[in-house]
Subunit: 189 residues, 2 copies
DNA sequence: ACGCTAACGGACGCCCCCGTCCGGTTGGCT
DNA sequence: AGCCAACCGGACGGGGGCGTCCGTTAGCGT
């Protein structure tokens, strides 16, 4: 009963955990999800066993590593919904989501293709998709989108955006920006 | 001097070569370029050595396997250029190219990302790109495209299209069709 | 200061893919 | 029919990623 907080890790363990997550974010963002676990371990200055102890699978690692990006996604769509102007809310959401995905190769892969077999993202993703649906409906009903535009069309745009794999991150972001503008015009009434 | 046709292979060799190419087309189309060479060999009912003898590298194999698709690409853009209506030529080219890429995962990868280090496609690709540029210019000058649309925008659309990786081929084609329509509207004046 | 145990990481065995060698097979020509 | 060279494919050694074990280190509580 003395164990009020039973699972506080030791300080070095916490440090390592943080370093691993930081390394994972960097490596995933640069080279996607298909990198060897050991590379992340090396980048974090940690042995393979330590990596596996903290994160038994790549899924668990990715889930935690991308938690921030996931929150950013929520923030973007929530901000879009909070905008009193339906059209501006819609367009800025699309633009920002596209840019976010362009900045991080790994997150894109994790978000769209989910994972070999369903990530913890599934639920989160669902929530985000619901919000995007709401955003889309609102913009359409305000007469800014073509009447036949559905949620699926917006998803289509986001998926297509993930195909923009320029060499440098800067090129990806630039391409993504142009693409978002083009896609928005394609959806507009 | 009796050797009028010096390099006619033996019949079994030709058969195997054909079977390998057929297998490569099937496997590449279904699962992309990142498949083990041995899987193609097994699918063709051939030993690994035979595969490597005919095609020393994956590049050489892919180049020959996709020769047909490459020709199809040319045919599409040439047909577009031959169309007296610049707009119809432009749109039908985009639509057909998108569909072609949706039907074949491997070809998409080979065409866009080229290859680890430049495929024989490079020259062919260049030729196709030139034609697309011509097609784009023509449609723009006819006033059907927004004045600021460049070749790069069309390339952007084709690259984005390659990001549409639905599970089934049918879903990919469907998504691709919708996407092409959306993109064309986005480029239109 | 000291011991206890959580935590570390080098090393191991496993599996899959790669590209090649070589003994056996078979098509094609006389 | 019989020869010979072109051709085949099983087998081999190398390399790399995987997930785990275990002897050692070092945080933390007393």
């Amino acid at each position: 009963m003395t164990e009020v907080l039973p699972h506080l890790r030791r300080s070095d363990a916490r440090d390592n955990r943080d370093r691993i997550l930081e390394a994972a974010r960097a490596v995933f963002a640069a080279d996607g999800l298909a990198v060897p676990m050991r590379r992340i371990a090396r980048h974090a200055g940690v042995g393979p066993a330590t990596l596996y102890r903290h994160f038994p699978t790549k899924e668990t690692l990715a889930t935690e590593a991308f938690a921030g990006q996931m929150r950013a996604c929520y923030a973007i769509v929530d901000e879009g919904l909070a905008d009193p102007d339906p059209w501006r809310g819609f367009t800025s959401t699309i633009e920002q989501l596209c840019e976010l995905h362009a900045r991080d190769r790994g997150f894109t892969a994790a978000f769209t293709a989910e994972f070999p077999h369903a990530l913890d993202f599934a639920a989160d993703r669902e929530r985000a998709v619901q919000s995007i649906a709401k955003l889309t409906r609102r913009a359409r009903e305000a007469g800014h989108l073509r009447p036949d535009v559905e949620l699926d069309d917006v998803i289509l745009v986001l998926m297509a955006n993930s195909g923009l794999q320029g060499t440098s991150p800067a090129a990806r972001v630039a391409a993504s920006r142009r693409f978002a503008a083009l896609a928005i015009r394609g959806l507009q009434a």
